[in-house]
């Protein structure tokens, strides 16, 4: 046994000892912990293979003599043997070329990862799921959905209780405020509450059929509080004379002529969400990123609030 083998055996033994010590000293130890046992098995295999391979090549360096035919060309004095191409290597090289062609033309183009692609797939999957689960919900479930959308999108202005946070936005617990009625009468309106352009004239176009004159300041005050009080109290005569011809005698609106000003309807709310609105308090942006079902749900929730 020469020095090389002896060194190899001592080195192997030392490495195995260190491995055993470090593993058995660690948490879990060697016994009963499958991960530690696998790691040790791997380490043992690695150490033994390494030592064998090193010994083989050191032996070869010690004993080998060069033979074979040299090439004519020398690179900085270093020559090269003209050896046959190893068959295994040649086969692998050829297969690699074939794989490369497949990868460039088919493999990569058809399987490349795309972040936007993943987003599109996610969105499509979500929309399918949404359709399947919520497309046909009605009643309480629709109101529940409307509440969740309201809490996500609307409460920032209208407040958690939909009270408009002390006048910062419309109080949705009632259909309309007196000052909104006054503003609309004074300036006219075209807020697409019916979903289409349908202008209402300002006070210079509002005749009171009862008095055969333009609506007066006093009448505006009266009718504003009448509408704001939910179509009750004084002012029914002014409403009948001025507003009823378009908004209906009960204020519930007329299809494609004038919106309902007595109560909220889901369609009215959906139209506000689709087009936004500029009123007495300020401007509400449109929320066209909500889908049709979500708009319907918010409509149902808000209609439900003031019932």
């Amino acid at each position: 046994m020469n020095k090389l083998y002896l060194g190899g055996i001592i080195f192997t033994a030392l490495m195995l000892l260190f491995t055993y010590m470090s593993v058995s000293g660690s948490e879990g130890g060697l016994h009963g912990d499958i991960v530690n046992m696998l790691a040790v098995a791997g380490a043992v295999a690695l150490i033994i293979i390494t030592v064998f391979v090193v010994i083989k090549y050191v032996r070869q360096m010690q004993t080998d003599t060069a033979d074979g035919q040299l090439a004519d060309e020398k690179w900085d004095g270093i020559g090269e043997y003209l050896n046959e191409l190893p068959m295994g290597w040649a086969i692998m090289f050829f297969l690699l070329i074939v794989w490369g062609m497949w990868y460039f033309t088919v493999g990569y183009p058809l399987n490349a990862y795309s972040q936007i692609g993943e987003y599109n797939e996610d969105t499509a999957a979500h929309n399918t799921k949404f359709e399947a689960e919520y497309a046909s919900i009605t009643g309480d479930r629709l109101v529940e959905m409307g509440e969740s959308v309201f809490l996500a999108e609307c409460k920032v202005c209208h407040g958690i209780n939909a009270d408009g946070i002390e006048g910062k936005a419309a109080n949705l617990n009632k259909r309309i405020e007196a000052k909104s009625v006054k503003l609309v009468i004074a300036n006219g309106s075209n807020n697409k509450l019916l979903g289409v352009e349908m202008p209402m004239p300002d006070r210079n176009g509002l005749f009171n059929a009862n008095t055969s004159a333009l609506i007066s300041d006093a009448e505006i005050d009266t009718v504003a509080s009448f509408v704001a009080n939910g179509m009750t109290g004084a002012g029914a005569d002014v409403f009948a004379g001025v507003c009823a011809s378009c908004h209906g005698s009960d204020g519930k609106g007329v299809d494609s002529v004038a919106p309902n000003i007595a109560s909220f309807t889901p369609a009215l709310v959906a139209n506000v969400l689709a087009h936004g609105k500029k009123g007495a308090i300020g401007e509400m942006p449109k929320f066209d990123r909500l889908n049709a079902k979500q708009k319907e749900a918010v409509g149902a929730y808000i209609t439900n609030l003031s019932k």
Binding site: I116, D122, E153, V156, I165, E283, M284, F287, R289
Partner: protein, 230 residues
């Protein structure tokens, strides 16, 4: 030739660099040029909006608010379409931000309006209960720096050919012309005209009076900038 290169390692290294650099340029440049072009619907900032952008930067809004919507369903539901690189074509510098202490503002102009911003900047917790954003009351008093905004407009229009006073295509097929004044006085007049539109939707009487007197409080410029983020 190869023999020669092997004997001259410096030129070999240069050759390798040129080869790889060329391949890189061919791959990267055409895509980059396409993606960095302004997308349709992206217009340069007007004088007042730019002044508002300076207010935004000055108060480090970008430390808490990002301006980048990532392509995830949860984000596009909340903020709108994911961001495209061409949308930042006129942002110098871009304000992507790195941390969302507050929400993303990339498209805040789509879902908040002037009066909401006014309430919110005065008292954030008044409209958003539990908000940790501080109130920015000084913006209602300090005056916006229109001259600096105009200087930036002049610079970018000359050095980067930012299309001021030129038609820019919009999403609905129309074109929009963002005006830039020919002089400081004209720029101030343009900014004031814009400010009047914003102030008309505001409620703070001091701000309304200031704008009526030809002054532009920072809040008006900031709101103009917020409304332009779409």
């Amino acid at each position: 030739m190869f023999h020669w290169l092997e004997k001259h390692p410096f030129f070999f290294a240069v050759g390798i660099f040129v080869t790889i650099a060329f391949a890189g340029l061919v791959e990267i440049l055409p895509n980059f040029a396409q993606a960095s072009r302004p997308v349709i619907g992206t217009a340069p900032y007007s004088t007042l909006e730019l002044a508002g952008r300076h207010v935004y930067i000055k108060n480090s809004c970008n430390a808490c608010h990002s301006q980048l919507v990532r392509p995830f369903k949860s984000e596009t539901d909340r903020y709108g379409h994911y961001s495209l690189s061409g949308e930042y074509a006129y942002d110098r510098p871009f304000l992507w931000g790195s941390k969302r202490t507050g929400p993303d503002l990339m498209r805040v102009g789509n879902y908040r309006t002037t009066d909401w911003h006014e309430n919110h900047m005065k008292s954030p917790s008044g409209v958003v209960p539990g908000s940790i954003m501080p109130a920015y009351t000084w913006m209602f008093k300090n005056k916006a720096d229109i001259n600096t905004a105009y200087a930036e407009q002049l610079t970018v229009s000359q050095f980067f050919s930012t299309p001021y006073n030129k038609p820019v295509p919009m999403k609905d097929g129309s074109t929009k012309i963002v005006k830039m004044g020919a002089s400081t006085a004209e720029a101030n007049a343009l900014a004031l005209a814009e400010a009047k539109v914003i102030a008309a939707d505001m409620k703070d009487q001091d701000v309304k009076d200031a704008v009526a007197n030809g002054q532009i409080p920072e809040i008006v410029a900031l709101i103009a900038y917020m409304n332009s983020l779409k």
